[in-house]
């Protein structure tokens, strides 16, 4: 599993201020922390970059590359900034992200071809967010076909089903199932394709202290179905050891829930019990509520 460290994110106040002040240290600290924790890529989420797009992205890339050789995931919808940043990357970068929307398809995909780099393509298109697995698949096939015509190989494309919050009233659990199903079938539909997800969105809206549990459990489920990578928080140690296979008991319990097997809850220690309850919510077996552990 390739982990793309998510912590350099312009929505975080500290990152935003550091970029504005051109203060290297907070950004380099975040980069080093994620490198040490075992990230494989670093995501640089810079938002729309309305002011000084070229100079800003170049400064952030250079700042990060002073402390690490990890490949970068350039996360902006601004094609001008993207094009200014790509040539500076020492390792083959990842464009994060294009989609089936006309402007992103036409603005960002040619850059992936021109600079010979990997690119994330999400299932979003001009009609919006496809709700179910059939429509997600149909949308991604169109956009991938477009990318192929530009000369981008499936092996360089990381598809993203777009994870939505499981807590969304009435629909969140259906969304969670649809994305799981998408990851399960996508390698057969598009041979050679890679995949990724913005993991933490699964727990958006859930109580803060319980968010990591949803993130971890959902990733174990996605990993089972062949997910290639995730944009996530590598500083969560329990998360990292789970995906490395260091906690097989928990993984097996989550798999049992996915398979609909009966589990004797009374015999489980608290931690395992929490994982089982979380998996049951994510498979849709039990109705979600913020009190799902109680």
């Amino acid at each position: 599993m390739i982990i793309i460290g998510e912590n350099i994110h312009v929505i975080a106040g500290v990152v935003n201020q550091a970029i504005k002040a051109r203060d290297s240290k907070p950004i380099q600290d975040l980069a080093k922390g994620q490198v040490q924790a075992g990230a494989d890529y670093l995501d640089l989420n810079l938002g729309p970059l309305t002011k000084n797009p070229e100079e800003t992205i170049q400064w952030v890339i250079n700042t990060v590359q002073q402390v690490t050789d990890l490949p970068l995931s350039l996360d902006t919808l601004n094609p001008v900034a993207m094009e200014a940043g790509l040539p500076l990357c020492k390792k083959r970068p990842l464009i994060n992200s294009a989609s089936g929307k006309k402007e992103q398809k036409e603005g960002l995909l040619p850059l992936a071809q021109k600079y010979n780099c990997d690119v994330i393509i999400s299932v979003i298109n001009d009609r919006g967010m496809p709700p179910d697995v059939e429509m997600k698949t149909e949308s991604i096939m169109d956009t991938v076909a477009y990318a192929n015509e530009l000369g981008i190989a499936n092996e360089d494309i990381w598809v993203d089903p777009i994870i939505l919050p499981v807590s969304t009233a009435g629909e969140g659990q259906g969304f969670a199932k649809a994305s799981l199903e998408f990851i399960k079938i996508i390698a057969e539909v598009l041979p050679g394709i890679k995949s990724t997800v913005g993991l933490s969105n699964i727990s958006n809206g859930a109580p803060n202290e319980l968010r990591p549990l949803l993130n971890r459990t959902y990733l174990v489920m996605l990993q089972r179905y062949g997910l290639y990578s995730a944009i996530a928080d590598p500083l969560d140690k329990e998360f990292m050891s789970l995906i490395k296979g260091e906690v097989p008991d928990v993984v097996n319990l989550i798999y049992k829930v996915m398979d609909g097997e009966e589990i004797d809850l009374s015999s489980l220690p608290q931690k395992e019990l929490d994982y089982v309850k979380t998996a049951k919510v994510l498979t849709g077996e039990v109705l979600y509520s913020d009190a799902w552990l109680e």
């Binding site: 009435g170 109705l287 509520s289 913020d290 009190a291």
Partner: protein, 309 residues
């Protein structure tokens, strides 16, 4: 080949709740294992829906149309007399006493007054009562415990219990042997969460779900599909936190709409269509303001049931 309709059978059963004081009339709701009106399936529907007429703890606000309360014109100044008069209409199964005047945005009348009115209304009628506070969570936290004490042991339905006040109101309801109406704003996840939290100290079989019910034309679709979902989860998936019977409390909402206020015939139909829709979605208690809309929906329901007997 001849078509054979599939017959479903569920193992989950909606909790049975009985409302009403001893010595008075009682109503029982819940107990069904078939989805709403699915009389063709395998299972039972032991208890018909309950039609409650809403009365107020004050004279009706002037902006409400006169035709709405015409049969009660002479008794509306006294909630107890108003409640007593309701018994003349034998198709009304229960009375909802809505403590409108306690609302800080209305008269902000004190808890003691509300308790006194509740006590007198309880004395004046043998029908089961559904007593609702204003819905202001802070005020209800003071009003409803006082009301619970006044109707101690009478097995009435008290609400709305909300996430902001479920501990204090829930405990008062429990201490005085009453039933809780747990209200959340049209959201299945919040609905379950409130029941989980109440369930830490409150018996689940004494809870009725109030998912909030808007009027026809004002978002009723949301509550319709939510109620359907609650019944499916309770009966098919057997989620204990959604196995409670439900109340559709639209009486106030319907008569906020200009369509209902415009003229009497249209108003009756507006309330009847709201009621019938939510009955079809699975509501076990329906609160009305107009006598004739109760009569209309009840007749439709009874003629439907007759076909399947």
């Amino acid at each position: 080949m001849e078509y054979k309709a599939p017959i479903e059978s569920n193992t989950g059963v909606v909790n049975v709740v009985t409302l009403g004081k001893s010595g008075g009339k009682t109503v029982t709701i819940g107990g069904e294992s078939i989805l709403p009106l699915h009389f063709f399936d395998d299972g039972s529907w032991p208890n018909p829906p309950v039609f409650a007429l809403q009365i107020l703890d004050r004279e009706p606000p002037e902006d409400l149309p006169d035709f709405l309360y015409a049969p009660f014109k002479d008794v509306m100044h006294d909630p107890a007399k108003w409640a007593g008069k309701v018994e003349e209409f034998d198709y009304v199964d229960a009375i909802q006493l809505y403590l409108l005047s306690t609302d800080p945005a209305d008269q902000d009348s004190p808890p003691e007054k509300a308790a006194e009115i509740a006590r007198k209304v309880a004395e004046a009628t043998s029908l089961p009562l559904i007593i609702y506070g204003s819905g202001d969570p802070d005020k209800d936290a003071k009003v409803l415990p006082a009301v619970c004490e006044a109707v101690d042991g009478m097995n009435y339905l008290i609400g709305p219990v909300q996430k902001e006040n479920y501990e204090v109101v829930g405990n008062a309801i429990l201490d005085h042997g009453l039933i809780a109406s747990a209200q959340t704003p049209m959201d299945i996840n919040l609905l379950k969460e409130l029941n989980v939290k109440l369930g830490h100290f409150f018996p689940l079989e004494k809870i009725v779900i109030d998912p909030l019910s808007p009027a026809l034309g004002y978002g009723i679709e949301y509550t319709y599909s939510l109620m359907e979902r609650v019944k499916q989860l309770g009966e098919i998936i057997k989620d204990k936190m959604t196995q409670m019977p439900m109340i559709a409390d639209f009486a106030t909402e319907v008569w906020r709409s200009k369509q209902a206020r415009q003229n009497e015939e249209q108003g009756i139909l507006w309330e009847a269509m709201t009621s019938l829709s939510l009955l079809t979605a699975g509501a076990n208690i329906l609160t009305h303001r107009h006598l004739k809309s109760i009569k209309l929906v009840k007749e439709m329901y009874e003629s439907e049931v007759k076909q399947w007997k």
